[in-house]
Symmetry: C2
Subunit: 213 residues, 2 copies
């Protein structure tokens, strides 16, 4: 390749305020966030590396300084989502007390996360859908553990006499989690309904139907 060495235009944008050069520690979260936002907005395949790079003020080729390929972004969006959401929510399920009240705490935490971080949640769900099965292995255990925990709480709630015995804990858990993860589709953090009130509804509607009458 011919060296285009000396021909650089001396243009640096006149009185530009010179900010410090960003290093990896600054750029990396920006990269993952931009990817999550764009995946949420336009879908994974609908988002080009040029889109992502543009949002960061660089060229698409430069992204390869941080990643090995586009699908790396899927993995890292998933990891960030797990770190931010799933683990902190699951932690709420620790503690003592009746299963149904633990379940309430958990549902409230889950709903709050989904409603406040709608774009990241949407980005996560989009990433989940396009993640090749081999690269999903690192997440399936954790996600299944979370689902099984909800299932177990439902079953314990039934044993403790708080929840209807005629429901299948597994089906109920799938319904509940599917419901919670659907909130991001219409909830807007700046919308007319307060997050607080929406979460109250989520708890009431998500768990109320399981209660004994």
């Amino acid at each position: 390749m011919v060296a285009n060495a000396l021909k650089r235009g001396p243009e640096l944008a006149a009185g530009a305020i010179r900010t410090k050069r960003k290093d990896r520690a600054d750029r990396w979260p920006e990269l993952v966030t931009a990817a999550a936002e764009l995946f949420a907005e336009k879908g994974y395949e609908g988002t080009s590396l040029r889109d992502i790079a543009e949002r960061l003020g660089m060229l698409k080729g430069s992204l390869y300084h941080y990643i090995n390929g586009k699908s790396d972004l899927l993995v890292h969006v998933m990891r960030e989502a797990h770190a931010r959401g799933l683990r902190t929510i699951a932690a709420q399920a620790e503690g003592e007390g009746r299963a149904v009240s633990l379940l309430e705490t958990m549902v409230e935490a889950h709903a709050r996360y989904v409603c406040t971080e709608t774009v990241f949640t949407a980005g996560f769900i989009e990433a989940r859908k396009h993640l090749p099965p081999e690269r999903a292995q690192e997440f399936v255990l954790e996600e299944r553990a979370y689902r099984l925990r909800v299932e177990a709480l439902v079953a314990r709630g039934q044993a403790e006499g708080d929840l209807r015995e005629d429901l299948d804990p597994k089906v109920a858990a799938l319904c509940l989690l599917g419901f919670l993860n659907s909130l991001h589709n219409w909830v807007r953090p700046t919308g007319v309904h307060s997050i607080r009130r929406i979460c109250d509804h989520a708890v009431a509607l998500g768990i109320g139907g399981m209660r004994c009458r």
Copy 2:
């Protein structure tokens, strides 16, 4: 459109080893179905016209005999989904009786449709997401009307003393519909849980939480 009044060729069924050349009336539903399936499977942007054509046994360029562009498929998947699902479900909300029992009938019908036609539902939701706003106009009225109908049923259920008064009908309706439309993510028509039982859960969980205690 021209009336295809006096119909069919004289020799339809004779032996028929030789399959007749497919005409527009045969091909068109195949096209829309193939598009819906592939959109459900790989997403809109992840599906190429070559994918769709291949499933029909033709070349991608040939699709332009039926459509003017890729986005036409979004519209027609939506139309078919509305025709199959939304309208027949909404019809269940007619009739008399207490609001809550109408609501039950409606939820059951909605759940049943989503659970039996999972791929078409997924294709519809994918299409909905990528439909440009101008082309969505033809659907927004109908969809809003459906949502408002649910909302009104909830409000009437409250007035009739069957449903909790402390719930916002609008938020409750959005939660309920979001929940129902999320079922396709995990329900498999051939799965271990019968559709019948899943729909029972959907009704119990979807409406039970709204009931007065």
